[in-house]
Assembly symmetry: C2
Homo-oligomer: 340 residues x 2
Amino acid sequence: MSGQRVNRRVVLKSRPVGVPQADHFEIVESQIPELASGEFLVRNDYLSVEPAMRGWVNAAANYSDAVGIGEVMRAFAAGEVVASRHESYAVGDKVMGMLGWQDYCVTNGDPVRRKVLEGDLPLTLSLGILGINGVTAYFALGEIGQPRAGETVVVSTAAGAVGSAVGQLAKLAGCRTVGIAGGADKVRLCLDEFGFDAAVDYKDPNFAQRLAEACPSGVDVYYDNTSGSISDAVLRHINKFARIVICGTASVQSWDPWPTGPRPERHLLNKSARMQGFLVWDYEHRYEEAVGQLAAWVRSGQLRYREEIVDGMERAPGSIAELYSGANIGKRLIRLETGR
Amino acid sequence: MSGQRVNRRVVLKSRPVGVPQADHFEIVESQIPELASGEFLVRNDYLSVEPAMRGWVNAAANYSDAVGIGEVMRAFAAGEVVASRHESYAVGDKVMGMLGWQDYCVTNGDPVRRKVLEGDLPLTLSLGILGINGVTAYFALGEIGQPRAGETVVVSTAAGAVGSAVGQLAKLAGCRTVGIAGGADKVRLCLDEFGFDAAVDYKDPNFAQRLAEACPSGVDVYYDNTSGSISDAVLRHINKFARIVICGTASVQSWDPWPTGPRPERHLLNKSARMQGFLVWDYEHRYEEAVGQLAAWVRSGQLRYREEIVDGMERAPGSIAELYSGANIGKRLIRLETGR
């Protein structure tokens, strides 16, 4: 049955240095093989686009092996089981996981992260606020940031899929929240949609001054998704025992060669402060705990999110570069209409 | 009675930028005032010299206010109560604390850190292995480094008063210990006296290569007392979940202007690693716990130390610069023969 379907796949054509562009990928078609025993077929309905994908294709050392040339692009996707010879997955099950930028995924289940059980909520949320973005916010803030009521939490990429969640979770924890975002539209979104107490535009020529004004009691927690000069400015305001959560380095175009910046050691020492790298994969065993809590907040209206859904696989190759251009607002997803 | 004694005091004459030199200080004499009720008089027998004193006199932001011009140099010292109108301190009590670079200290007790109760051990130890150096090693390694048996612990300034203790405590915790020190003599001291499994000379033109060879399983804990290029080399070898304890920045001459170096963010992120500043003052409430454990290890011969005692207050003004020249081996102390 599945052998009759054509599978379009976005494969890596050449290895990028820095941010991957559309022409580092190509779309190829292939037949879907017959299912072996223990396999099932997922039809991807939504493909995810993450800033982290830059690292997944770069040759420089990272936390996982780079995607190989000619391989389908590693990506989260969500969809539905349309054929199964696997005892734990039935036709009609909704699943999400590392299913790749492609129409269909034949799998033994290993790349599936979870069945999506929140049938009352849109499937797209499993790739965003109830997926890697929300789960990242939940553990990065809760486990590394450890916010306490009354503290000031500063968030970079504050209008983004993770940053907007971090800000709202910090607010739920009783903190003063200060968002950093690029441009007036995103600053307004931080204030009006995501409830930040203050928001600062890093493109403002007086950014450092504005940041200082927004943090009259200093900074206790910094959710750092940018590195670079934005983070250097925040570091100058950290309080005693501050926690800096290193979650991304969006403002640094390349780590090869290794870029330089102001050394943090003396600041960390003087403030008994902590700078700690966060990878959501380290918390995989607690994924359902996070999703359950996040879903409850979504249902109660205490946790808001933005999505930016574009149609068609042909939008995938250029989508990582579009993320890094800073133009998008909300979680970027690609909707496929395969086989419907 | 105390009014008859002359007190020589080392006072700060001008504000240094970077490492204070002998001519930033001058020795002045004054009469000792009569004791008021609630005061007592300590005769300092030993003055301490710490790398941290650089920060105590610099104008740049630090964890404590800078010593004022004309004020006695802030310093640890140990000595004996020779007169008392304080109900908790009797003549003959041995005390240590922030008693300053001077012959005598009239005090209400606030600068005293503790009575020295280890009468079976030399008083000098209260300023070194049973003082700020040993206590720093104990909490920096135990609380921030959190070494586990079988892990690799790398120590900079490994032949120094704190580093040598860190290495030995890590060894007691079952770790592989790798010391970094300057010059063949200190490397030998690390191996022969302080039991490091390997020791590397940072002055070796092939330092980076030697360091890599000494850490075949990577680095789990790095006790960083230097910052700068030594630490940059270590950072390239950290393992998943590594802990970097920022305890000093001896290799950086000045933080004004703020020096640059390779950014650590991506390394910390890829390894879910932590870089944390450590100040021993944060653990003041647990000081006796540390001293008790350290004294037991000293008595059993499991914890060794080196002292370098020089005679006469006139040695004090130049002693911080001597520390930073890297020439000394062991805890630097100044012995006074006042009033004996």
